[in-house]
Symmetry: C2
Subunit: 205 residues, 2 copies
């Protein structure tokens, strides 16, 4: 099996087991693209025509506010990137999508999606489950903006997506947690001191 | 047909036409509840077990930040209220849901939903479409927090949901657009003056 297909099929199979025929249909419909670092996949004002499943790499989503990036999400291996209001609703996007690394995707279009639904109605169920998960994640993101401090946002990022701070520059992490780079340095210093205190108090016990 | 059923069926039929058998299945599975104003449907820390389709009334969603409500959404007739991360993922909710008026809902549970999917796989498609729309709306909400000023948020609310400012107290509108009530008064005054200027300049032309 094609390696890209196998990653996507593995992802689908975790939601619902697939028949050989369904697997062949996915393989046949698969469109894979690779973009170098710094590729802008979508600009504010454009109407999105593609959805992405990240096979390898990293993409950041941001708004441009007075010329400055406000980063709201990072997408890496196994993540979906979709903008239904734009892709299905024809509403211009307000965000940008840009690769932080060389990134390889499975690319979905509305046409390909509809074709798969017609051929295999069970994909509706898979797609519904993915949409539900994404809606939950998006709601959690909204909750985080309202209820977490920047330090809490940083700690959650370290816990849940420890690879991200290794993969992107610190000023992008600062933008994501909603502070200036200097404040992120202070947060990191404070957390480092706390963990040193914890280590030394553990040693003296 | 039961009036509540007819509203929900109308909503589904706009997505995909339904057979008589499907309509009967919906009618049979329908659970309708009515709550007085001030009912708390969900509290932060609880795991959501129900989804709602609003037949009549208004619900606000908020976070409690240092004892103060930060309102993030209002749901009215024809809106869905779901929290998939909590309901399917078992994650405690971080928000509150409270009725702003006496409100009548169709109540969905995971069990009822699964039953309908089994009986009529086509509901997966309807549900996928609803989830896509909700994901789009949630993304737009996130975009609005990052890119719109409070005044822009207020103008959009007036444009898109003109009934809301008539239905809920002004301090809730202020919370929703992210300002203190005094600032909302200033925004309203400014907009009223602008529209007066527009009227008088139109007259003198």
């Amino acid at each position: 099996m094609h390696e890209s297909a196998s990653k996507l099929i593995e992802h689908f199979s975790r939601i619902t087991p697939l028949s050989d025929e369904e697997i062949r249909a996915i393989e046949a419909s698969l469109l894979v693209k690779t973009f170098p670092k710094g590729s802008v996949l979508l600009e504010a004002g454009q109407i999105a025509t593609e959805a992405y499943f990240v096979l390898e790499g990293c993409v950041r989503q941001y708004y441009l506010i007075e010329g400055e990036e406000r980063i709201v999400n990072f997408f890496t291996e196994g993540d979906w990137i979709v903008a239904p209001e734009s892709m299905s609703g024809g509403v211009p996007a307000r965000h940008y999508l840009e690769t932080c690394e060389k990134t390889r995707f499975v690319v979905g279009t509305a046409e390909r999606e509809q074709m798969l639904y017609k051929q295999f109605p069970r994909f509706e169920s898979i797609s519904r489950t993915i949409m539900e998960t994404m809606l939950g994640a998006q709601q959690a993101l909204t909750a985080s903006y309202h209820t977490d401090t920047p330090e809490e946002r940083y700690k959650k990022l370290l816990e849940r997506r420890p690879d991200i701070p290794q993969r992107v520059p610190q000023y992008q992490i600062a933008s994501y947690i909603g502070v200036k780079p200097e404040s992120l340095s202070r947060i990191r210093k404070r957390l480092a001191e706390k963990s040193m205190t914890n280590i030394s108090s553990a040693k003296t016990q």
